[in-house]
Protein backbone atom coordinates (compact mmCIF):
# COMPACT_ATOMS: atom_id res chain seq x y z
CA UNK A 1 0.00 0.00 0.00
CA UNK A 2 1.30 3.38 -0.99
CA UNK A 3 1.00 6.10 1.63
CA UNK A 4 0.10 9.43 0.03
CA UNK A 5 -0.64 11.33 3.23
CA UNK A 6 1.20 14.53 3.99
CA UNK A 7 1.03 16.99 6.83
CA UNK A 8 0.60 20.72 6.51
CA UNK A 9 1.10 21.91 10.07
CA UNK A 10 -1.65 20.27 12.16
CA UNK A 11 -3.59 19.24 9.05
CA UNK A 12 -3.20 15.76 7.64
CA UNK A 13 -4.09 15.54 3.94
CA UNK A 14 -4.88 12.21 2.35
CA UNK A 15 -2.69 13.14 -0.60
CA UNK A 16 -0.56 16.12 -1.65
CA UNK A 17 -2.80 17.37 -4.46
CA UNK A 18 -5.13 20.32 -3.97
CA UNK A 19 -6.59 23.02 -6.24
CA UNK A 20 -4.98 26.44 -6.60
CA UNK A 21 -7.29 29.18 -5.41
CA UNK A 22 -9.24 30.84 -8.21
CA UNK A 23 -9.20 27.87 -10.53
CA UNK A 24 -11.62 25.62 -8.72
CA UNK A 25 -15.27 25.52 -7.75
CA UNK A 26 -18.00 23.07 -6.92
CA UNK A 27 -19.04 23.35 -10.57
CA UNK A 28 -16.25 20.84 -11.22
CA UNK A 29 -18.15 18.10 -9.36
CA UNK A 30 -19.49 16.40 -12.52
CA UNK A 31 -16.02 16.36 -14.10
CA UNK A 32 -13.70 15.61 -11.19
CA UNK A 33 -13.86 13.39 -8.11
CA UNK A 34 -13.56 16.12 -5.49
CA UNK A 35 -13.40 13.57 -2.69
CA UNK A 36 -10.06 12.38 -4.04
CA UNK A 37 -8.40 15.76 -3.41
CA UNK A 38 -6.03 16.37 -0.52
CA UNK A 39 -7.85 19.60 0.30
CA UNK A 40 -10.41 22.00 -1.11
CA UNK A 41 -9.31 25.59 -1.78
CA UNK A 42 -12.08 27.90 -3.01
CA UNK A 43 -11.46 31.22 -4.74
CA UNK A 44 -9.97 33.96 -2.53
CA UNK A 45 -12.59 35.86 -0.58
CA UNK A 46 -12.56 39.58 0.26
CA UNK A 47 -14.30 41.38 3.08
CA UNK A 48 -16.80 43.26 0.98
CA UNK A 49 -18.17 42.73 -2.50
CA UNK A 50 -15.78 43.41 -5.37
CA UNK A 51 -16.48 43.51 -9.09
CA UNK A 52 -13.14 42.33 -10.41
CA UNK A 53 -11.12 43.77 -13.26
CA UNK A 54 -11.76 44.85 -16.83
CA UNK A 55 -12.10 42.28 -19.60
CA UNK A 56 -10.41 40.48 -21.27
CA UNK A 57 -9.35 38.89 -18.04
CA UNK A 58 -7.39 35.99 -19.47
CA UNK A 59 -5.09 35.47 -22.40
CA UNK A 60 -2.98 32.64 -23.59
CA UNK A 61 0.80 32.72 -23.85
CA UNK A 62 3.20 29.99 -24.96
CA UNK A 63 2.91 27.28 -22.34
CA UNK A 64 0.96 29.46 -19.98
CA UNK A 65 -1.75 32.03 -19.45
CA UNK A 66 -2.09 35.49 -17.97
CA UNK A 67 -5.07 36.25 -15.76
CA UNK A 68 -6.31 39.41 -14.25
CA UNK A 69 -9.53 38.34 -12.60
CA UNK A 70 -8.85 40.65 -9.68
CA UNK A 71 -10.78 38.71 -7.05
CA UNK A 72 -14.39 39.00 -8.00
CA UNK A 73 -16.18 38.26 -4.76
CA UNK A 74 -19.52 38.70 -3.05
CA UNK A 75 -17.96 39.39 0.33
CA UNK A 76 -17.37 37.31 3.43
CA UNK A 77 -20.96 37.00 4.58
CA UNK A 78 -22.09 35.54 1.28
CA UNK A 79 -19.06 33.21 1.45
CA UNK A 80 -20.05 31.90 4.84
CA UNK A 81 -23.72 31.63 3.94
CA UNK A 82 -23.28 30.09 0.49
CA UNK A 83 -19.80 29.01 -0.51
CA UNK A 84 -18.75 27.13 2.62
CA UNK A 85 -21.99 25.11 2.76
CA UNK A 86 -21.64 24.17 -0.91
CA UNK A 87 -18.61 22.06 0.07
CA UNK A 88 -20.02 20.54 3.23
CA UNK A 89 -20.79 17.18 1.64
CA UNK A 90 -17.22 16.69 0.41
CA UNK A 91 -14.63 14.92 2.55
CA UNK A 92 -11.41 16.92 2.06
CA UNK A 93 -10.60 19.67 4.54
CA UNK A 94 -11.32 23.17 3.29
CA UNK A 95 -8.57 25.78 3.18
CA UNK A 96 -10.11 29.25 2.90
CA UNK A 97 -8.06 31.70 0.87
CA UNK A 98 -8.51 35.25 2.12
CA UNK A 99 -7.48 38.46 0.45
CA UNK A 100 -7.55 41.89 2.09
CA UNK A 101 -6.78 45.37 0.88
CA UNK A 102 -5.26 46.24 4.24
CA UNK A 103 -3.83 44.40 7.21
CA UNK A 104 -7.05 45.19 9.08
CA UNK A 105 -9.11 43.50 6.40
CA UNK A 106 -6.99 40.36 6.71
CA UNK A 107 -7.54 40.50 10.48
CA UNK A 108 -11.28 40.91 10.10
CA UNK A 109 -11.53 38.09 7.59
CA UNK A 110 -9.50 35.74 9.78
CA UNK A 111 -11.48 36.66 12.87
CA UNK A 112 -14.74 36.02 11.07
CA UNK A 113 -13.60 32.64 9.68
CA UNK A 114 -12.04 31.54 12.96
CA UNK A 115 -15.59 30.88 14.15
CA UNK A 116 -16.40 28.61 11.19
CA UNK A 117 -15.81 24.95 12.00
CA UNK A 118 -15.86 24.00 8.31
CA UNK A 119 -12.70 26.00 7.69
CA UNK A 120 -9.66 23.81 8.37
CA UNK A 121 -7.00 26.40 7.64
CA UNK A 122 -6.53 29.85 6.18
CA UNK A 123 -4.42 30.68 3.14
CA UNK A 124 -3.44 34.35 3.21
CA UNK A 125 -3.28 35.68 -0.32
CA UNK A 126 -0.67 38.38 0.31
CA UNK A 127 0.52 38.05 -3.24
CA UNK A 128 -2.27 38.79 -5.71
CA UNK A 129 -0.80 40.82 -8.58
CA UNK A 130 -4.27 41.91 -9.67
CA UNK A 131 -5.62 43.73 -6.67
CA UNK A 132 -3.55 46.83 -6.20
CA UNK A 133 -1.84 49.22 -8.58
CA UNK A 134 0.79 47.87 -10.92
CA UNK A 135 0.99 44.46 -9.35
CA UNK A 136 1.99 45.65 -5.88
CA UNK A 137 1.38 43.08 -3.13
CA UNK A 138 1.87 42.86 0.63
CA UNK A 139 4.17 39.92 0.15
CA UNK A 140 6.74 42.09 -1.62
CA UNK A 141 7.92 43.48 1.70
CA UNK A 142 9.32 41.36 4.51
CA UNK A 143 8.24 43.95 7.08
CA UNK A 144 4.65 44.09 5.89
CA UNK A 145 4.55 40.31 5.70
CA UNK A 146 5.80 40.01 9.27
CA UNK A 147 3.30 42.55 10.58
CA UNK A 148 0.41 41.09 8.65
CA UNK A 149 1.08 37.57 9.85
CA UNK A 150 1.43 38.76 13.43
CA UNK A 151 -1.91 40.57 13.41
CA UNK A 152 -3.73 37.64 11.85
CA UNK A 153 -2.01 35.15 14.17
CA UNK A 154 -3.45 37.07 17.12
CA UNK A 155 -7.07 36.54 16.04
CA UNK A 156 -7.17 32.89 15.05
CA UNK A 157 -5.85 29.52 16.15
CA UNK A 158 -6.43 27.96 12.74
CA UNK A 159 -3.34 26.99 10.75
CA UNK A 160 -2.12 29.96 8.72
CA UNK A 161 -0.66 29.43 5.25
CA UNK A 162 1.00 32.50 3.73
CA UNK A 163 0.87 32.50 -0.07
CA UNK A 164 4.06 34.20 -1.21
CA UNK A 165 4.64 36.20 -4.35
CA UNK A 166 7.41 35.17 -6.74
CA UNK A 167 7.90 38.79 -7.81
CA UNK A 168 10.65 39.48 -5.29
CA UNK A 169 14.43 39.69 -5.11
CA UNK A 170 14.86 37.32 -2.17
CA UNK A 171 11.92 35.06 -1.38
CA UNK A 172 13.88 33.65 1.57
CA UNK A 173 13.52 36.97 3.40
CA UNK A 174 9.76 37.00 2.94
CA UNK A 175 9.50 33.35 3.98
CA UNK A 176 11.47 34.01 7.15
CA UNK A 177 9.34 37.06 7.92
CA UNK A 178 6.17 35.00 7.52
CA UNK A 179 7.60 32.29 9.78
CA UNK A 180 8.57 34.80 12.44
CA UNK A 181 5.15 36.42 12.16
CA UNK A 182 3.48 33.10 12.95
CA UNK A 183 2.77 31.34 9.67
CA UNK A 184 2.34 27.57 9.92
CA UNK A 185 2.99 26.89 6.25
CA UNK A 186 3.81 28.66 2.99
CA UNK A 187 2.34 28.43 -0.48
CA UNK A 188 5.10 28.98 -3.03
CA UNK A 189 3.92 30.89 -4.96
CA UNK A 190 1.30 33.04 -6.62
CA UNK A 191 1.47 34.15 -10.28
CA UNK A 192 4.24 36.20 -11.95
CA UNK A 193 3.40 39.73 -13.02
CA UNK A 194 3.31 39.59 -16.81
CA UNK A 195 2.10 41.35 -19.92
CA UNK A 196 1.27 40.49 -23.51
CA UNK A 197 0.51 42.76 -26.44
CA UNK A 198 -1.49 41.86 -29.53
CA UNK A 199 0.76 43.08 -32.33
CA UNK A 200 -2.15 43.42 -34.76
CA UNK A 201 -4.27 45.74 -32.62
CA UNK A 202 -1.28 46.97 -30.57
CA UNK A 203 -3.47 46.63 -27.48
CA UNK A 204 -2.57 44.81 -24.28
CA UNK A 205 -4.13 41.37 -24.40
CA UNK A 206 -5.40 41.82 -20.82
CA UNK A 207 -7.92 44.58 -20.08
CA UNK A 208 -6.00 45.56 -16.96
CA UNK A 209 -2.72 45.78 -18.99
CA UNK A 210 -0.80 43.45 -16.66
CA UNK A 211 -1.81 40.21 -15.01
CA UNK A 212 -0.41 37.06 -13.46
CA UNK A 213 1.36 34.35 -15.47
CA UNK A 214 0.69 30.72 -14.57
CA UNK A 215 1.07 27.37 -16.27
CA UNK A 216 3.87 25.06 -17.46
CA UNK A 217 6.10 27.98 -18.47
CA UNK A 218 6.70 29.06 -14.85
CA UNK A 219 7.52 25.67 -13.33
CA UNK A 220 11.35 25.98 -13.40
CA UNK A 221 11.06 29.28 -11.52
CA UNK A 222 8.68 27.85 -8.91
CA UNK A 223 10.88 24.78 -8.36
CA UNK A 224 13.76 27.16 -7.66
CA UNK A 225 11.65 29.22 -5.21
CA UNK A 226 10.51 26.07 -3.38
CA UNK A 227 14.12 24.94 -3.07
CA UNK A 228 15.21 28.33 -1.73
CA UNK A 229 12.34 28.57 0.75
CA UNK A 230 12.90 25.01 1.94
CA UNK A 231 16.50 25.89 2.72
CA UNK A 232 15.51 29.08 4.53
CA UNK A 233 12.65 27.90 6.75
CA UNK A 234 11.31 24.84 8.51
CA UNK A 235 7.73 25.44 7.45
CA UNK A 236 5.87 22.98 5.27
CA UNK A 237 5.61 24.26 1.70
CA UNK A 238 2.74 23.97 -0.75
CA UNK A 239 4.11 24.28 -4.30
CA UNK A 240 2.00 26.22 -6.79
CA UNK A 241 2.83 27.00 -10.40
CA UNK A 242 3.02 24.96 -13.56
CA UNK A 243 2.16 21.47 -12.34
CA UNK A 244 0.74 19.58 -15.31
CA UNK A 245 1.42 15.96 -14.38
CA UNK A 246 2.60 13.63 -11.62
CA UNK A 247 6.27 14.11 -12.48
CA UNK A 248 5.94 17.87 -12.03
CA UNK A 249 4.40 17.28 -8.60
CA UNK A 250 7.21 14.89 -7.63
CA UNK A 251 9.76 17.45 -8.85
CA UNK A 252 8.30 20.07 -6.48
CA UNK A 253 8.18 17.57 -3.61
CA UNK A 254 11.84 16.68 -4.18
CA UNK A 255 12.64 20.40 -4.11
CA UNK A 256 10.97 20.72 -0.72
CA UNK A 257 7.19 20.90 -1.12
CA UNK A 258 4.92 18.88 1.14
CA UNK A 259 1.88 19.42 -1.05
CA UNK A 260 1.17 20.79 -4.49
CA UNK A 261 -1.54 22.99 -5.95
CA UNK A 262 -2.91 22.60 -9.45
CA UNK A 263 -4.50 25.52 -11.28
CA UNK A 264 -4.04 26.05 -15.01
CA UNK A 265 -3.92 22.28 -15.63
CA UNK A 266 -7.56 22.06 -14.50
CA UNK A 267 -8.55 24.44 -17.32
CA UNK A 268 -6.82 22.10 -19.78
CA UNK A 269 -8.37 18.94 -18.32
CA UNK A 270 -10.98 19.29 -15.57
CA UNK A 271 -9.94 15.97 -14.02
CA UNK A 272 -6.22 16.80 -14.06
CA UNK A 273 -5.94 16.60 -10.27
CA UNK A 274 -7.24 13.02 -10.22
CA UNK A 275 -4.84 12.01 -12.99
CA UNK A 276 -1.91 13.66 -11.23
CA UNK A 277 -2.72 11.81 -8.01
CA UNK A 278 -2.74 8.52 -9.93
CA UNK A 279 0.59 9.37 -11.53
CA UNK A 280 2.13 10.05 -8.12
CA UNK A 281 1.02 6.61 -6.97
CA UNK A 282 2.48 5.06 -10.13
CA UNK A 283 5.78 6.81 -9.52
CA UNK A 284 5.98 5.61 -5.93
CA UNK A 285 5.16 2.05 -6.92
CA UNK A 286 7.69 2.06 -9.75
CA UNK A 287 10.39 3.38 -7.45
CA UNK A 288 9.44 1.15 -4.50
CA UNK A 289 8.81 4.11 -2.22
CA UNK A 290 6.19 3.42 0.41
CA UNK A 291 5.34 6.97 1.47
CA UNK A 292 5.33 10.16 -0.54
CA UNK A 293 6.43 12.13 2.52
CA UNK A 294 9.77 10.34 2.35
CA UNK A 295 10.48 12.30 -0.84
CA UNK A 296 9.99 15.79 0.59
CA UNK A 297 13.15 17.82 0.01
CA UNK A 298 15.03 14.70 -1.13
CA UNK A 299 16.69 16.18 -4.21
CA UNK A 300 20.03 14.42 -4.51
CA UNK A 301 22.78 17.02 -4.39
CA UNK A 302 25.92 14.91 -4.50
Amino acid sequence: MTDLTVKISSLTLKNPIMPASGTFGSELAPLLDINRLGAIVPKSITLSERGGNQTPRVCETDGGMINSIGIQSKGIEHYIANILPSYQDFEPPLIASISGESIEEFENLAERLDREPSVAALELNISCPNLRDHGQAFGMSADTTYQLLGKVRAVTTKPLIAKLTPNVTRIQDIAEAAERGGADALTVANTFLAMAIDTESRKPRIGNVMGGLSGAAVKPLIVRFIYQVHQATNLPIIGSGGVMNGQDAIEMILAGASAVQVGTATFIQPNAMNTITDEITDYLVRHHISAVKDLIGQVNLD
Binding site: T23, G25, G51, P56, V58, G63, G64, M65, N67, F267
Partner: protein, 260 residues
Protein backbone atom coordinates in the same frame (compact mmCIF):
# COMPACT_ATOMS: atom_id res chain seq x y z
CA UNK B 1 -22.06 18.38 -18.95
CA UNK B 2 -19.08 16.08 -19.31
CA UNK B 3 -15.56 15.89 -20.66
CA UNK B 4 -15.38 13.52 -23.61
CA UNK B 5 -13.54 12.62 -26.78
CA UNK B 6 -15.37 12.54 -30.09
CA UNK B 7 -14.16 11.26 -33.42
CA UNK B 8 -13.97 13.75 -36.26
CA UNK B 9 -16.10 12.74 -39.26
CA UNK B 10 -15.30 15.76 -41.44
CA UNK B 11 -13.44 19.02 -41.01
CA UNK B 12 -13.35 21.27 -44.02
CA UNK B 13 -13.41 24.87 -45.15
CA UNK B 14 -16.77 26.23 -46.27
CA UNK B 15 -15.46 29.61 -47.46
CA UNK B 16 -12.20 31.51 -47.29
CA UNK B 17 -12.31 32.19 -43.56
CA UNK B 18 -14.81 29.66 -42.24
CA UNK B 19 -14.59 25.95 -41.48
CA UNK B 20 -17.12 23.35 -40.49
CA UNK B 21 -16.40 20.31 -38.34
CA UNK B 22 -18.65 17.31 -37.76
CA UNK B 23 -18.18 14.93 -34.85
CA UNK B 24 -19.50 11.48 -34.15
CA UNK B 25 -21.04 11.71 -30.68
CA UNK B 26 -22.91 8.42 -30.77
CA UNK B 27 -21.37 7.36 -27.48
CA UNK B 28 -22.73 10.40 -25.72
CA UNK B 29 -26.27 10.77 -24.61
CA UNK B 30 -27.08 14.38 -23.90
CA UNK B 31 -29.67 17.02 -24.52
CA UNK B 32 -28.15 19.96 -26.41
CA UNK B 33 -29.95 23.29 -26.69
CA UNK B 34 -29.42 25.90 -29.37
CA UNK B 35 -27.24 28.65 -27.89
CA UNK B 36 -25.29 26.27 -25.70
CA UNK B 37 -21.61 25.76 -26.39
CA UNK B 38 -18.75 23.29 -26.04
CA UNK B 39 -15.31 24.11 -24.69
CA UNK B 40 -12.81 22.56 -27.07
CA UNK B 41 -9.16 21.65 -26.92
CA UNK B 42 -8.12 22.84 -30.34
CA UNK B 43 -4.44 22.01 -30.43
CA UNK B 44 -1.42 21.01 -28.44
CA UNK B 45 -2.44 21.53 -24.83
CA UNK B 46 1.09 22.54 -23.96
CA UNK B 47 1.48 25.46 -26.33
CA UNK B 48 -2.21 26.39 -26.21
CA UNK B 49 -3.42 25.63 -22.70
CA UNK B 50 -6.77 27.36 -23.07
CA UNK B 51 -9.76 25.69 -24.65
CA UNK B 52 -11.89 27.57 -27.20
CA UNK B 53 -15.66 27.98 -26.85
CA UNK B 54 -17.77 27.19 -29.94
CA UNK B 55 -21.52 27.16 -29.94
CA UNK B 56 -23.48 24.31 -31.37
CA UNK B 57 -24.12 24.80 -35.05
CA UNK B 58 -26.16 21.66 -35.36
CA UNK B 59 -26.81 18.69 -33.12
CA UNK B 60 -28.48 15.84 -34.93
CA UNK B 61 -30.28 13.76 -32.36
CA UNK B 62 -30.99 10.89 -34.74
CA UNK B 63 -27.59 10.55 -36.36
CA UNK B 64 -25.93 11.61 -33.11
CA UNK B 65 -23.62 14.04 -34.85
CA UNK B 66 -22.47 17.38 -33.53
CA UNK B 67 -21.40 20.21 -35.83
CA UNK B 68 -19.56 23.47 -35.35
CA UNK B 69 -19.07 26.29 -37.82
CA UNK B 70 -16.00 28.33 -37.00
CA UNK B 71 -14.10 31.36 -38.13
CA UNK B 72 -10.36 30.80 -38.46
CA UNK B 73 -9.11 33.62 -36.32
CA UNK B 74 -5.98 32.93 -34.25
CA UNK B 75 -3.75 30.09 -33.17
CA UNK B 76 -6.50 27.97 -31.63
CA UNK B 77 -8.83 27.84 -34.60
CA UNK B 78 -5.84 27.54 -36.93
CA UNK B 79 -4.81 24.41 -35.10
CA UNK B 80 -8.35 23.10 -35.25
CA UNK B 81 -8.16 23.21 -39.05
CA UNK B 82 -5.20 20.81 -38.88
CA UNK B 83 -7.30 18.05 -37.32
CA UNK B 84 -8.26 15.32 -39.72
CA UNK B 85 -11.04 12.84 -40.21
CA UNK B 86 -10.58 10.05 -37.68
CA UNK B 87 -8.69 12.23 -35.18
CA UNK B 88 -10.21 12.65 -31.74
CA UNK B 89 -11.31 15.98 -30.33
CA UNK B 90 -11.60 16.63 -26.60
CA UNK B 91 -14.66 18.63 -25.53
CA UNK B 92 -16.46 19.75 -22.41
CA UNK B 93 -20.15 20.36 -22.73
CA UNK B 94 -22.85 21.13 -23.41
CA UNK B 95 -22.37 24.33 -21.44
CA UNK B 96 -24.31 27.45 -20.60
CA UNK B 97 -27.87 28.67 -21.03
CA UNK B 98 -29.42 28.29 -24.47
CA UNK B 99 -32.17 30.17 -26.29
CA UNK B 100 -35.82 29.83 -25.39
CA UNK B 101 -38.51 29.71 -28.06
CA UNK B 102 -41.60 31.93 -27.99
CA UNK B 103 -44.86 30.19 -27.14
CA UNK B 104 -46.31 31.33 -30.43
CA UNK B 105 -45.62 33.55 -33.40
CA UNK B 106 -42.70 33.80 -35.79
CA UNK B 107 -39.01 34.32 -35.00
CA UNK B 108 -36.70 36.97 -36.39
CA UNK B 109 -33.00 36.11 -36.22
CA UNK B 110 -30.48 38.89 -36.86
CA UNK B 111 -26.96 37.53 -37.37
CA UNK B 112 -23.67 39.07 -38.29
CA UNK B 113 -20.62 37.12 -39.43
CA UNK B 114 -20.11 33.87 -37.62
CA UNK B 115 -22.99 34.78 -35.31
CA UNK B 116 -25.12 32.88 -37.79
CA UNK B 117 -23.51 29.64 -36.56
CA UNK B 118 -25.16 30.14 -33.18
CA UNK B 119 -28.52 31.23 -34.61
CA UNK B 120 -28.58 28.39 -37.12
CA UNK B 121 -29.17 25.88 -34.34
CA UNK B 122 -32.05 28.03 -33.09
CA UNK B 123 -33.58 28.24 -36.57
CA UNK B 124 -33.51 24.45 -36.84
CA UNK B 125 -35.12 24.01 -33.45
CA UNK B 126 -37.88 26.49 -34.28
CA UNK B 127 -38.49 24.91 -37.68
CA UNK B 128 -38.70 21.46 -36.09
CA UNK B 129 -41.55 22.86 -34.03
CA UNK B 130 -42.99 24.28 -37.23
CA UNK B 131 -42.54 27.88 -36.24
CA UNK B 132 -41.94 30.42 -38.95
CA UNK B 133 -38.40 31.77 -39.02
CA UNK B 134 -36.93 34.85 -40.72
CA UNK B 135 -33.18 35.27 -40.72
CA UNK B 136 -31.33 38.46 -41.59
CA UNK B 137 -27.72 37.59 -42.31
CA UNK B 138 -25.23 40.42 -42.43
CA UNK B 139 -21.65 39.98 -43.61
CA UNK B 140 -18.71 41.86 -45.09
CA UNK B 141 -18.97 40.35 -48.55
CA UNK B 142 -21.42 38.09 -50.35
CA UNK B 143 -18.86 35.25 -50.04
CA UNK B 144 -18.92 35.63 -46.27
CA UNK B 145 -22.66 34.94 -46.15
CA UNK B 146 -22.91 31.58 -44.49
CA UNK B 147 -25.51 28.80 -44.36
CA UNK B 148 -27.99 30.63 -46.57
CA UNK B 149 -28.82 27.46 -48.45
CA UNK B 150 -29.12 25.25 -45.40
CA UNK B 151 -31.44 27.72 -43.73
CA UNK B 152 -33.55 28.06 -46.86
CA UNK B 153 -33.60 24.30 -47.18
CA UNK B 154 -35.08 23.82 -43.70
CA UNK B 155 -37.75 26.35 -44.52
CA UNK B 156 -36.48 29.57 -42.98
CA UNK B 157 -36.77 32.78 -44.98
CA UNK B 158 -33.35 34.30 -45.45
CA UNK B 159 -32.61 37.98 -46.07
CA UNK B 160 -29.00 38.85 -46.79
CA UNK B 161 -27.25 42.19 -46.46
CA UNK B 162 -23.57 42.95 -47.01
CA UNK B 163 -21.12 45.80 -46.53
CA UNK B 164 -19.88 45.36 -50.06
CA UNK B 165 -23.35 45.88 -51.48
CA UNK B 166 -23.92 48.71 -48.98
CA UNK B 167 -27.09 47.04 -47.72
CA UNK B 168 -25.87 46.32 -44.22
CA UNK B 169 -26.16 49.68 -42.45
CA UNK B 170 -28.03 49.66 -39.17
CA UNK B 171 -30.72 51.82 -40.79
CA UNK B 172 -31.27 49.33 -43.62
CA UNK B 173 -31.44 46.43 -41.20
CA UNK B 174 -33.84 48.45 -39.04
CA UNK B 175 -36.28 49.12 -41.84
CA UNK B 176 -36.07 45.53 -43.08
CA UNK B 177 -36.69 44.28 -39.54
CA UNK B 178 -39.55 46.64 -38.94
CA UNK B 179 -41.16 45.55 -42.17
CA UNK B 180 -40.84 41.88 -41.12
CA UNK B 181 -42.13 42.60 -37.61
CA UNK B 182 -45.14 44.39 -39.01
CA UNK B 183 -45.91 41.95 -41.81
CA UNK B 184 -44.81 38.53 -40.56
CA UNK B 185 -46.23 38.20 -37.08
CA UNK B 186 -42.82 38.20 -35.37
CA UNK B 187 -43.12 37.58 -31.65
CA UNK B 188 -39.50 37.06 -30.74
CA UNK B 189 -36.21 38.47 -31.95
CA UNK B 190 -32.73 37.02 -31.50
CA UNK B 191 -29.26 38.25 -32.31
CA UNK B 192 -25.62 37.26 -32.29
CA UNK B 193 -22.36 38.58 -33.71
CA UNK B 194 -22.52 42.38 -33.72
CA UNK B 195 -22.74 45.03 -31.05
CA UNK B 196 -24.43 47.52 -33.36
CA UNK B 197 -27.08 45.00 -34.38
CA UNK B 198 -27.56 43.97 -30.76
CA UNK B 199 -28.34 47.56 -29.91
CA UNK B 200 -30.81 47.67 -32.77
CA UNK B 201 -32.45 44.44 -31.66
CA UNK B 202 -32.67 45.74 -28.11
CA UNK B 203 -34.47 48.86 -29.37
CA UNK B 204 -36.79 46.87 -31.60
CA UNK B 205 -37.69 44.41 -28.84
CA UNK B 206 -38.47 47.33 -26.58
CA UNK B 207 -40.43 49.34 -29.16
CA UNK B 208 -42.43 46.40 -30.47
CA UNK B 209 -42.71 44.54 -27.12
CA UNK B 210 -41.08 41.41 -28.47
CA UNK B 211 -39.40 38.61 -26.58
CA UNK B 212 -35.73 39.19 -27.30
CA UNK B 213 -32.53 37.24 -26.68
CA UNK B 214 -28.86 37.82 -27.32
CA UNK B 215 -25.94 35.36 -27.48
CA UNK B 216 -22.77 36.97 -26.11
CA UNK B 217 -19.07 36.17 -26.27
CA UNK B 218 -16.28 36.48 -23.73
CA UNK B 219 -12.74 35.21 -23.35
CA UNK B 220 -12.91 32.12 -21.17
CA UNK B 221 -10.63 29.96 -19.12
CA UNK B 222 -12.64 27.25 -17.33
CA UNK B 223 -15.90 27.53 -19.28
CA UNK B 224 -17.87 26.06 -16.36
CA UNK B 225 -18.28 28.90 -13.91
CA UNK B 226 -15.24 28.59 -11.64
CA UNK B 227 -12.77 31.25 -12.70
CA UNK B 228 -14.69 34.47 -13.44
CA UNK B 229 -12.65 35.11 -16.58
CA UNK B 230 -15.78 35.58 -18.66
CA UNK B 231 -17.38 38.32 -16.59
CA UNK B 232 -19.87 40.62 -18.25
CA UNK B 233 -22.17 43.29 -16.95
CA UNK B 234 -25.92 43.00 -17.29
CA UNK B 235 -28.80 45.17 -16.13
CA UNK B 236 -31.34 43.55 -13.83
CA UNK B 237 -34.13 45.94 -13.04
CA UNK B 238 -32.19 49.13 -12.53
CA UNK B 239 -29.17 47.44 -11.02
CA UNK B 240 -25.96 46.55 -12.84
CA UNK B 241 -24.76 43.02 -12.10
CA UNK B 242 -21.62 41.17 -13.08
CA UNK B 243 -22.37 37.70 -14.35
CA UNK B 244 -20.47 34.84 -15.98
CA UNK B 245 -21.06 34.41 -19.70
CA UNK B 246 -20.19 30.69 -19.50
CA UNK B 247 -22.82 29.73 -16.94
CA UNK B 248 -25.27 32.62 -16.59
CA UNK B 249 -25.13 33.04 -20.39
CA UNK B 250 -24.08 32.97 -23.14
CA UNK B 251 -27.75 33.71 -23.96
CA UNK B 252 -29.33 36.61 -22.06
CA UNK B 253 -32.66 38.41 -22.42
CA UNK B 254 -31.87 41.32 -24.73
CA UNK B 255 -33.36 43.73 -22.18
CA UNK B 256 -30.55 42.84 -19.77
CA UNK B 257 -27.77 43.59 -22.24
CA UNK B 258 -25.51 46.54 -21.45
CA UNK B 259 -24.30 47.77 -24.84
CA UNK B 260 -22.03 50.79 -24.68
Amino acid sequence: MKTFNAKIMTNQSVSTRYWQITLDVSAIDMPVQPGQFFHIQCGDAWKNPLRRPLSVYHYNRELRTLEFLYLVKGTGTQQLTLKKKGDMLNLIGPLGQGFTLPEQGALLLVARGVGVATLHALAREARSENKRVHVIISARTPEDLLTVETLTHIGATVHTVTDEEETSSVESVRSLSEKLIREEGISAIYTCGSRRLSKLVQELADEYQLKGELATEAHMACGIGDCYACACTIRKGNQLKTVRVCTDGPVFPISQAVLQ
